[in-house]
């Protein structure tokens, strides 16, 4: 059975396989397990969500790695602490990952994010600016040089092709969303291609799930904004997931109440059911986003069955990034005096 067939086979109930042990990673896995002890629990997030105001929520961070240096510190400082923690988590990941090609694969996320931002600015004739992430594989100097000189051959091959396709797609009808669709598609293809080259069952399954969850989010957004007639479904929905893109296309034609039965035979039934009904009643994507995060986290947590291997290290990175996002999300919501119930709905 080849990998192409494998990723579209739903031969599991909730989560696909995470692969097998690799005993070279005994030290690295153990270190990650010890680091996981410092991670936030759901109860800690709920306490923050239930805090009366931003200051009280920020106080709950004292004694954690996100603690503000002094009382009365502002949100800007907290943001810089969160960025520092994210950089630290990524450094731990790079240090512990023995297969450097896996570390580089995860760094391409920043490359694609930079590319998306730069293309949006360039094609809409806005200044390029210099607020890009420096945690990718491509140095910022090289990146800036490629865009200021319009010499995209300086970029790695996978980025060159993405640039060409994104520019072509944008100029077809000058729709800015086309840039995102093309880059998302290139990124998904690249991830899966690299995962197959590395012969990593875990990464193939992880990227498959991520593609499916992106498909669910996109489908709900297109339905909600009723803009699916303006886009070509085959371009919008990512291939390489466990669910065929045709299922998402079919979902676009149905009402919210018919979405869940359509996904009944997939592992995403609960996500679609909860997300669609919340969207229909509350006009909000909060529940769908929360369910998508929970599903991915559930898959990452299933790496607990691995005693030694790269899987727990990848899982640690993604869960840590998710934790940082959630801290930012709760505190931003508190800063803007959002209703506690909304925050609870988002963090689950």
């Amino acid at each position: 059975m080849n990998n192409e067939q494998r990723t579209t086979n739903l031969d599991f109930y909730t989560y696909p396989s995470v692969g097998t042990d690799d005993w070279c990673y005994a030290f690295e896995t153990a270190r990650v397990r010890a680091l996981e002890l410092q991670m936030f629990t759901r109860a800690a997030f709920l306490d923050m969500a239930n805090a009366e105001n931003f200051e009280q929520a920020a106080d709950l961070l004292s004694g954690t790695e996100y603690a503000l240096p002094g009382p009365g510190e502002d949100f800007v400082q907290l943001e810089s602490i969160l960025l520092l923690r994210r950089t630290a988590a990524r450094k731990i990941f790079s240090d512990l990952m023995r297969q450097k090609s896996i570390a580089e694969l995860f760094k391409t996320r920043d490359d694609f994010a930079n590319l998306r931002l730069a293309l949006r600015r360039t094609l809409t004739e806005k200044p390029l600016l210099n607020d890009y992430s420096d945690e990718g594989n491509v140095s910022l100097d090289l990146f800036e040089q490629a865009f200021t000189e319009d010499n995209y051959e300086l970029l790695p091959t996978y980025m060159q092709q993405a640039v060409e396709q994104a520019v072509l797609a944008y100029y077809q009808n000058k729709d800015i969303r086309q840039i995102d669709f093309v880059i998302d598609s290139f990124q998904a293809d690249y991830n899966l291609k690299e995962a197959r080259r590395l012969k990593s069952v875990f990464l193939i399954d992880l990227f498959g799930i991520q593609n499916d969850l992106t498909g669910i989010r996109t489908m709900l957004r297109l339905k909600f904004t009723e803009s699916h007639s303006n886009v070509r479904p085959e371009q919008v929905f990512l291939k390489g997931g466990f669910v065929e893109p045709e299922l998402f296309e079919q979902a676009l034609e149905l009402g919210y109440e018919s979405l869940a039965p359509l996904f009944f035979a997939t592992p995403y039934y609960r996500i679609v059911e909860a997300g669609a009904s919340y969207l229909a009643s509350e006009k909000s994507f909060l529940r769908a986003e929360q369910q998508c995060d929970e599903h991915l986290t559930g898959f990452l947590k299933s790496t607990l069955q691995i005693t030694a291997g790269p899987q727990p290290i990848v899982a640690f990175l993604l869960m840590k990034e998710n934790e940082i996002r959630n801290v930012r999300l709760v505190l931003t919501a508190k800063k803007n005096n959002l209703d506690t119930k909304l925050i609870q709905d988002r963090i689950g």
């Binding site: 005994a26 153990a30 002890l37």
Partner: protein
Amino acid sequence: MDYGMTLAFVGAGLAALMAGIGSAIGIGIAGRSATGVLSEKPERYGQMFIMVVLPGTQGFYGFLAAFLVMLNLNFFGEGGAMDVSVKLGWQVLAACLPIAFAGMMSAIHQGKVCSGGILMAAKRPEMAFKAGVVYAVMVEVYAVLGLLVTMFILLKGINWPTPPA
């Protein structure tokens, strides 16, 4: 050195070598896991120690079997090692195989079980002995059985010739 003696030494060597290799691999696995946890939680050293050393016992079992062979061949006695027939050589070699193979395989797998136990002890220290050590000892049982079979054959099954006066 005659053929029989060579076979006997191969047996003794295999017992010590294979069980020793198994123990080294097992301790290596458990040790790497333990250092990973200790790099973040040094206070857990006591809990980790027993799970790191457990896979080392098979190496001692192999050494014990090899020592018994050498002792019965009067290796350390006056007059030097006795003459060993080909038949006796084969018997000694066969006697050493249970601890050689059971020792090697059980030590490697015990190292993996201990590694799992160490990871669990990192998150749930109260389970370190109850599950981590007890499960590892379950694997140890099969190395002990291998050693017992080796010892029974060496001590009861073989008619050792009388050492030279």
